[in-house]
């Protein structure tokens, strides 16, 4: 499955262990390790959990509990573009729900990755761009005063 998506690197148990070990010098290293794994592989593979647990001398349940608690940690590869649409109050006041509906009509549904793997859409509650709403984070870059046309333009870039 991952092979179809060039942006997601193939799972590599040795690399997971090495990455985890390299971050254990920090106090409370689990979140930094999970962030590093997601940055490297695009998601947290189920097979990484026992390795991280072993490195940190935690139970698998404890690591699983942390991975599943936070919205950021993905359990499966994402699309080539990742869009986090703000749906909090300031963006609501400026019509973010209309934006979400317009995108859904074009096949971009919240919480889903498009069938061709081009984009994943997620909800987020506040990006701190409230004075320039509606806002979204697209591939880690903040965008403001968004319209459906502009979003489609950004998502349809290669």
């Amino acid at each position: 499955m991952t092979a179809k998506r060039p942006d997601n690197i193939e799972f590599d148990a040795d690399a997971v262990r090495e990455l985890a070990l390299s971050l254990t010098v920090q106090a409370g290293p689990l979140l930094p390790i999970l962030h590093a794994l997601q940055a490297r592989f695009g998601y947290i593979d189920e097979r990484a959990i026992p390795i991280v647990a072993d490195v940190l001398n935690l139970s698998r349940a404890e690591v699983h509990g942390v991975v599943s608690f936070y919205h950021d940690f993905r359990r499966a590869p994402a699309g080539r573009h990742v869009m986090k649409v703000c749906r909090a109050e300031a963006c609501q006041a400026m019509g973010c729900e209309g934006l979400v509906a317009a995108l859904a009509k074009r096949g971009y549904a919240i919480g889903k990755t498009t069938a061709d793997g081009s984009a994943t859409l997620e909800s987020v509650y506040c990006l701190g761009n409230c004075a320039l709403s509606p806002a979204a984070l697209i591939d880690g870059r903040l965008h403001g005063r968004l319209t459906a046309e502009r979003v489609l333009q950004l998502l349809e870039q290669p």
Binding site: L31, H35, V66, Y70, D72, G128, C130, L132, G144
Partner: protein, 516 residues
């Protein structure tokens, strides 16, 4: 002669094209052989004018905005580098009424200096507070902060000096300073602006806090929704280490202080201080029972100061100018200034730092200019997703902790979100429960179950299903959540819900009567 041009590097300014403008200016300057020094400043907080660029002239800093990349050629033609007139000319930026009317204390440098130039920071008053602190004993620092009347700007409004005193008096081999930069409240962006536009102020405030309580290690916990702020703080920490603002010899004093930046992972609850500490320790962000307070047993069980970004960035001013200079601003028990973040459906959204005591109407109408849609303003939510929705009749309330509390509201972290007359308060009440359900850490039952049941019950009211009975049920549920929840998430969800019910009953009632 080299001309200084300021183009904000602030992520919100870049979200509407500041980066493209910077590229276009670099290109145009090179094409014309103009000698230009570009400074990527923070934002002034006049967001409706972003991208707002400024040119340094003999008359001061002259602004242009909102600038698009396509405007750059005509700006150069109009003599941008001499401050020439153009249809986007704003005149002297500091004379723009929105800014001229403010009292910038915590944001005094934001948007003005190069955020990553320690020399610039120092030239604008930076480090003088730390130098004062280095010459005092810990009690002297704590006393100064206590006398200033500074209260926690994260939302709870707890007196900062009292928190520090508790940590100072706690005996432990290690203490910590934790900067809460998990600015999760919707409608707020003051922390983000400071971290991007004046990161050394946050660092200086943390070092002073460390000196005050005897801590040598600090963490900045930044939400992952703020990747630009995280990167900026990391850059500032690296510079601060190199320049001995951090490390084993702070400004040559022989004192030690170190800071590490940590990234959150998308959890609103981690703005609650005990959840944040759990998260920093690498655990699920579930809240802790209190007591013990974090000031007694916080990070890794050690005495810990947890303060918001704005609070910590205000401390250098208090030390440099003295407690009275801060205390003289504000009204009643709300001393000093509050950075108000105005947003939503409003013509002029932005950052307004003023002494406590503006009325909400002055903020929404005079600063904000009313709804962006041109329609009447119907509701204003103050204090984030757990803040109350207020109608026009409450807009004359003074913006301070007590005035809001006596009317069933709270100023929280200072977010003001404006809605026009198309808003449906039943939908907003439903959203408040949904949000609580989504973000509940699950530790206590009233919040975990109550939020889900609340959303279901409001949905029934909206659908006209036993609406009158269900309205009674919602009020009862709000009471249970308010009194029975362990932290402010479940404990304050009643605020947006009940304020909607109390001030906008018509949005629920027409459904209660069975109308569509």
């Amino acid at each position: 002669m080299t001309v200084s041009l300021y183009i904000p590097g602030d992520s919100a300014a870049c979200s509407v094209g500041a980066q493209d403008v910077a590229h276009a200016i670099a290109h145009e300057a090179a094409r014309r052989g103009a000698n230009v020094k570009v400074i990527r400043n923070g934002s002034r907080g006049l967001y409706w004018l972003e991208p707002l660029i400024e040119v340094e002239t003999a008359q001061g800093r002259l602004g242009y905005g909102p600038v698009e990349a396509g405007d750059v050629e005509s700006l150069f033609d109009a003599g941008l580098l001499r401050g020439g007139a153009h249809r986007l000319s704003l005149g002297r930026v500091e004379d723009i009424p929105y800014l001229a009317r403010q009292q910038r204390v915590t944001f005094a440098r934001c948007g003005i200096i190069d955020p990553l130039s320690l020399a610039d920071y120092e030239a604008h008053g930076g480090l003088s507070g730390l130098r004062v602190a280095l010459a005092r004993d810990p009690e002297g620092i704590v006393d100064e902060v206590t006398r200033s009347g500074l209260r926690g700007r994260g939302g709870a409004g707890f007196p900062t000096g009292i928190k520090w005193k508790t940590v100072l008096e706690a005996e432990a081999p290690q203490k910590y300073i934790v900067c809460n930069a998990d600015e999760g409240d919707s409608g707020t962006f003051a922390d983000r602006m400071l971290m991007e536009g004046d990161p050394f102020a946050v660092i200086e405030g943390m070092v002073i806090a460390g000196l005050a309580v005897g801590a040598t290690m600090g963490f900045v916990y930044i939400r992952s929704e703020y990747p630009a702020a995280f990167a900026q703080i990391e850059r500032a920490i690296a510079i601060a280490r190199r320049e001995h603002l951090l490390g084993t010899d702070v400004l040559g004093s022989g004192r030690r202080f170190e800071i590490e930046a940590r990234l959150g992972a998308g959890a609103y609850i981690c703005g609650e201080e005990t959840s944040l500490l759990e998260s920093l320790e690498g655990k699920r962000g579930q809240i802790r029972f209190k007591p013990p307070l974090p000031a007694v047993a916080g990070l890794f069980g050690r005495p810990t100061v947890v303060n918001n970004v704005v609070t910590l960035a205000t401390v250098p001013f208090v030390m440099a100018r003295g407690a009275d200079a801060y205390r003289d601003l504000g009204i009643d028990r709300s001393r000093g200034t509050q950075p108000i973040q105005l947003s939503g459906n409003v013509r002029r959204g932005g950052l307004i730092e003023c002494a406590f005591g503006l009325t909400l109407r002055e903020i929404v109408e005079e600063f904000g200019g009313g709804a962006a849609s041109g329609r009447p303003v119907r509701a204003v939510q103050v204090g984030g997703p757990l803040g109350a929705y207020w109608p026009q009749s409450l807009l004359d309330t003074s913006f301070d902790y007590e005035a809001f509390a006596t009317r069933g509201g709270m100023i929280g972290h200072g977010g003001v979100v404006v809605f026009d007359d198309t808003v449906d308060l039943a939908a907003q009440a439903h959203f408040a429960f949904q949000f609580c359900a989504e973000e509940s850490c699950g530790k206590c039952t009233p919040c975990r179950i109550g939020a889900v049941r609340g959303a279901e019950t409001v949905a029934k009211i909206v659908a006209g299903d036993s609406a009158r009975d269900n309205l009674v049920l919602v009020r009862d549920l709000c009471e249970v959540m308010r009194d029975g929840s362990l932290c402010a998430l479940g404990g304050l969800t009643h605020m947006p819900v009940l304020s909607s019910l109390d001030h906008f009953p018509e949005d629920f009632e027409h459904r209660a009567k069975g109308a569509p």
